[in-house]
């Protein structure tokens, strides 16, 4: 099913490095990704895969002094934000792209009332609104009791805090909401509630969402398309139903096994063997090769081009196991837009 709506967010071969005491870390190694208006997209990876770095790069929230975007473009509604000055980038945050974070307690200011924290967003992005009234609307929108405007973060439960954080982001009136592990810190019941709320809000507001998680289950229930990221590279992407139906990359397959906690012949839990790679090494070849059960000689030599798998061009993978598609690489990588 070809998408018809224009992209709200587009990452084009983004390379980002961190300077650390131990040397340069390549956190993003040419990551490409597209989110269309109104669409729910999942970004899946283990911890350290670069998924949070990617999300923060969109808003320029990686530490200024130690991180650098070396190459690539980040287009928000068609505008390349990597070329913005610090002040311009500040002004561009929140609208049209807003973000909610993982741990709702530490990400709320502990000594500021919830209502005030929401109001700050409103004053910044929609100053002509009647702030008080709008705060009330937003609190209602995330299904919190209106009295909570006067509460402090520590007085709220984990689920309520996540809703409050969501209200802070929604007050920016975003067209794309980036949610970085929004349910990881919560218990299972609360997780389900927050996911349901996110789905409702998207329908109500027609807002796109980029959901970042390590949990495939969440992606299955909340996203239309997904990207699998590893060592700062996207290894597989496509419609959720296609990827779930027939995961192509050995890494994706491994993730699925780990998620289902499948037992192998010996009765042990299946996990992906080995450790995520040291991102300090110069990346050459497929980063997953050292851990890959199907690794071949080519894998260590070069990173494979994309191979389109399903008809309708909705599912692609970068792996030597699949014959590369003849089209030019960039076209395939932007396949979502087609």
């Amino acid at each position: 099913m070809p998408q018809t709506k224009p992209p709200i967010l587009q990452l084009d071969d983004v390379r980002l490095t961190f300077r650390t005491r131990a040397g340069t870390v390549r956190a993003l190694n040419g990551a490409s990704l597209t989110v269309h208006e109104g669409e729910a997209v999942g970004l899946v990876g283990e911890s350290g895969s670069g998924k949070s770095t990617l999300a923060r790069a969109v808003l320029g929230l990686n530490p200024e002094r130690s991180s650098r975007i070396e190459a690539g473009r980040i287009l928000i509604a068609g505008r390349d934000v990597t070329r913005l000055s610090q002040a311009e980038w500040e002004a561009a945050r929140g609208h049209p792209v807003a973000m909610v974070f993982q741990d709702p307690l530490s990400f709320l200011n502990p000594i500021m009332r919830i209502g005030r924290q929401i109001a700050e967003s409103i004053e910044r992005h929609a100053p002509d609104r009647r702030v008080e009234q709008r705060v009330g609307e937003l609190i209602e929108l995330v299904k919190l009791p209106s009295s909570l405007a006067r509460a402090y973060p520590h007085e709220l439960s984990g689920g309520m805090r996540q809703r409050a954080l969501l209200a802070v982001a929604l007050a920016c009136e975003p067209r794309l909401l980036i949610a970085d592990e929004p349910t990881t810190a919560l218990d299972v019941t609360t997780q389900a509630e927050i996911l349901a709320l996110l789905r409702d809000l998207r329908e109500k507001l027609g807002m796109a969402m980029l959901l970042i998680t390590h949990d495939l289950g969440i992606v299955a229930s909340a996203c239309e398309r997904l990207y699998v990221i590893y060592a700062g590279r996207v290894l597989e992407w496509g419609r959720a139903q296609d990827v779930f139906g027939a995961p192509a990359h050995p890494y994706t397959v491994g993730l699925f096994h780990a998620a289902r906690a499948d037992r192998d012949a010996q009765g042990r839990f299946a996990t992906i063997g080995g450790e995520p790679p040291d991102l300090g090494e110069t990346a050459q070849g497929c980063p997953f090769a050292p851990r890959c059960p199907k690794a071949m000689a080519e894998c260590a030599r070069a990173m494979p081009h994309a191979s389109v798998l399903a008809d309708g061009e909705t599912h692609a993978v970068r792996c030597w196991l699949y014959p590369p598609t003849r089209e030019s690489e960039t076209a395939v990588e932007r396949l979502g837009e087609a």
Binding site: L59, L108, I111, E155
Partner: protein
Amino acid sequence: MRRFLVARLGWAIPVILAILIVNFLIIHIVPGNPIQALIGDFPAPPGYADQVRHEFGLDRPVLTQLGLYLLNLAKGQLGFSFANRQPVLGLIIERAQFTLLLMLPALAAAALLGIVMALAAAPRAGSLYDSGLTALSLVGFSLPIFWLGQLLVIVFAIKLRLLPAQGMFSLRTRLTGWAYILDVGWHLILPMFAVTIYYVAIVARVARASVLDALSQDFVLTAKAKGLSRRHVLWRHVLPNALIPVVTVIGYNFGYSLTGAILVETVFAWPGLGNLFITSIGNRDYPVLQGIFLLTAIAVVIANVATDLIYAALDPRVRAAGFRHA
């Protein structure tokens, strides 16, 4: 908030009681006649010693003595200073004003300076400027404050002849109104400077740590993600959070600050508690010395409770917990 206040008073009252008992013990444990500790070494009118002996029940059992002592204190009777021909309580309150006049502006200046320096140093953690700040507080902790006072007098009053070295006002002329206030301010500069340097040592170290801590908090990311300007994030989110530890450190160190001011006064002949203290040492005016200890100790306890209340007002999390954070 009321529960919190009750909890803090529940802490303060036993502490004050303990201070009173310590004061009582000093009279009795030190060698010599307790009557001398109660009167001092200044010639007192005949019969006064007997009167005091009776009032404090010095010939009665120790517990009765303690009871009488507390009773006398409760009536506000801290004794009479024959050297100053004045009741001790009134004398101390009169002088305490001058000490506060020296101390409070210095505290305010130190707090401001400490925070500003910490804010300037924070983005450059590990830099030369930053290590300079750490070194400064180490130096401040090691400086004998009275010596610092002497150095300031030698440099600014004696060598450069910029500022007056001693006292609180010019003796040659009688000034009134604004001229008087300006004159006092003029005399205040050097001692206040000495006290401020000393206080900055306490503040700068904590301020540096708390600014760095606040800057690295996750909520700063949320604030940035909302699109708030860097300035807004710094003033509305980072600074209020960073100020809380600074305010509490200043409050909890009220005794330390007071001691500093008292020592500086002796160098500059500033007519506050420190000056009263040193002349009373010279006069063996013991009731005054004990009175100063008693009242400063109680002031410190009150400052502690006040700090807790301010802390609670600034930080909603403490209000909820209702106990002291060390």
